[in-house]
Amino acid sequence: MNKRNDRLAEIGPFISQPDDDMIICRCEEVTKGEIRKAVHDGMFTLTEIRRYLRTGMGLCQGQTCSKLVKSIVAKELGLPPGDIEPAVSRAPMRPIEMKILGNDRKEV
């Protein structure tokens, strides 16, 4: 945690790639190109990418795409994927209707 990260670090220009229109986050329909572009906009962490583009914020909460997003961001930053901290995990682990989440079982 809390690795010093200078956001003016040189990562080179954004160069478009033929598969930039490929969808990576299915729930929120975010493409590879959008993710790569976000890195060049200064979003260097998965948490920032998530807040910027909504990757992993849909129904599956990143179960499917988080690893893919991570590898794309790592590649763009020229880092090994292991250096990229995954976004935090938040309750509820599965989507739950408001009427159920609001219905705590009464203790007897």
Binding site: M22, K32, Q63, K67, L68, P92, N103, R105
Partner: protein
């Protein structure tokens, strides 16, 4: 607050094993699982397990699940199904969605055994209906009895990709090809050989370029990649398929542990909690067991579960330190025995060229999925003999030894180290009972009798397809690559209960085909 000594999240192999160990020591245990059936992945595993007796080897996965569940019930473990644990909060409190309610429970200890989810890999068209996880297709087939598709391409040659490909064939699907970007097959060679002899081609160093189709998968294009995984232009190859299965690894479902504030780490086995050898996380009283703590097999998950359950009992004072140590020491030994050999976790990603015995590994097995005939002689299980005798095409150091125990005449030796290659003990003679053939989880043992009839040999092979041929049927014998090599006549079909649904077909083939013929295809059979 509903309070238990131990809360376990996940009723799979690790969770149920943990529950049993803890309940045996007197803890009150409750297990939650989000699925409507307990057992986790075990109930999808229709194949026989590897390992040795202590690892429940040669028992089919779903039977192991049934055994664990029965044992847990006998120990008065409460298993709550359709129960989604939505969060793991401070003070080891969990919120669980049960029916239309949110219920709160606290445990003095918590074991998280939530398993893993399937990885996906993006390519053009990967979001089309028809691109599914290999595990998902297994769920469709083995739990819901639905064919996932008619013609399938499998991406990934790890054990999941290999095992599921075989199950797809068993379910009556065609498997067009097995594809992997790696230059060699990742899973057990014996699993690959089962699929290869059904005629499924392997494309190593290949990747999917795109899935074709407007509304759903209608085809797939693959291409060859170079050593840095870059596509080589002009190598594209098209297959007509309606389903693409992805078996490209699993990721631990460690979100609850992450949320609970356990220290996490990124490892080749996934994003996992930092744990000690007993599964204890950085938060006192919270343990992790099974795939959630690093992707392995169900066999090791069960042992990890037992260790975590034992340690939880010790943590809460139900077991003395010494007593716990005695139990876990034995379990750790059992775990070590599983983690040996060329597929040991520490060998992941390494190129292994020699077996532990110093024998060069079969290159053909690693790239085409079957042993080349020229390579056979160097392996100790493949010996010539007079009369009926086993031929064990087991050429990699995998943790497995049921064949050794299965032989009533002690013809087969593996020894202490269960990853050693099996060898034939020449002093004892084979009775041809077939127990070794049926016991081999890798379906790699055959019985040969080169003296069957003048000019003819008999080959006995394990067979798990329907319809089952009957004595007198004639068809074609296939070689290890699935190529038809000669006419074959079924001379015996054995399906005793002791074989546990593995039938033994004995076919008569010309003598020169004895070391070639390894599968039987009746006329009009669909698995090709």
């Amino acid at each position: 607050m509903n309070r238990y000594d131990l809360i376990i999240i996940g009723a799979g192999p690790a969770g149920l094993s943990a529950a049993i160990s803890a309940a045996k020591n007197g803890l009150s245990v409750i297990v939650f699982d989000e699925n409507s059936k307990p057992g986790g992945q075990l109930f999808k595993q229709i194949h026989k397990f590897f390992g040795s007796k202590e690892h429940k080897a040669k028992i089919r996965g779903f039977r192991i699940g049934e055994e664990l569940l029965k044992e847990a019930e006998e120990l008065k473990v409460t298993v709550v199904l359709d129960a989604i644990v939505t969060g793991l909060y401070q003070d080891k409190e969990i919120s669980v969605k049960i029916g239309e309610e949110i219920c709160h429970y606290k445990g003095d200890a918590v074991i998280v055994a939530t398993g893993a989810t399937e990885n996906m890999v993006p390519f053009e068209g990967w979001t089309l209906p028809g691109v599914i996880g290999a595990g998902a297709s297994q769920t469709m087939m083995n739990l819901h009895h639905i064919k996932p598709g008619n013609r399938v391409l499998m991406l990934g040659t790890g054990n999941v990709g290999l095992v599921v490909s075989f199950q797809l064939l068993q379910a009556g699907c065609q498997v067009a090809a097995l594809v992997d970007a790696a230059p060699k097959i990742g899973g057990y060679g014996v699993h690959a050989a089962k699929v290869a002899r059904c005629g499924v081609p392997f494309y190593l160093s290949h990747t999917i370029i795109k899935a074709e189709g407007e509304d759903c998968v209608r085809g797939v294009v693959i291409g060859k990649v170079d050593s840095s995984f870059q596509l080589i232009p002009g190598t594209e190859k098209h297959f007509d398929v309606d389903t693409i299965c992805l078996a490209v690894g699993l990721s631990p479902m460690s979100q609850l542990l992450h949320m609970a504030g356990c220290k996490m780490q990124d490892t080749p086995l996934g994003y996992v909690p930092v744990i000690d050898e007993n599964g204890a996380t950085s938060v006192p009283g919270i343990y992790a067991a099974g795939d959630v703590s690093g992707i392995e097999e169900a066999s090791s998950a069960m042992i990890e579960g037992r260790i975590a359950g034992t340690k939880a009992a010790e943590y809460l004072g139900f077991l003395s330190e010494d007593a716990a140590k005695e139990i876990t020491a034995g379990l750790e030994l059992a775990l070590d025995r599983l983690r040996k050999g060329m597929f040991a976790p520490e060998n992941r990603g390494k190129k292994i060229t020699l077996t532990d015995e110093g024998i060069p590994v079969s290159d053909s097995l690693l790239t085409r999925g079957y042993l080349d005939e020229d390579e056979l002689d160097r392996f100790p299980g493949i010996a010539k003999g007079k009369g009926i005798h086993p031929v064990m095409e087991c050429t990699q150091n995998i943790p497995c030894n049921p064949c050794q125990d299965a032989c009533p005449r002690k013809c087969i030796k593996i020894g202490e180290n269960i990853t050693s290659l099996p060898i034939i003990d020449e002093e004892n003679s084979c009775s041809g009972c077939g127990m070794c053939v049926a016991s081999c989880s890798g379906q790699a043992i055959f019985l040969l009798n080169e003296d069957y009839e003048p000019g003819y040999a008999s080959v006995t092979l394990p067979y798990e397809f329907l319809p089952l041929p009957v004595k007198g049927d004639t068809g074609m014998a296939l070689d290890r690559s699935g190529k038809k090599v000669c006419q074959a006549e079924i001379i015996e079909v054995k399906t005793p209960k002791a074989f546990d649904h593995t039938s033994l077909l004995t076919m008569k083939v010309p003598l020169d085909m004895a070391m070639k013929a390894r599968f039987y295809k009746s006329r009009g059979c669909s698995h090709e």
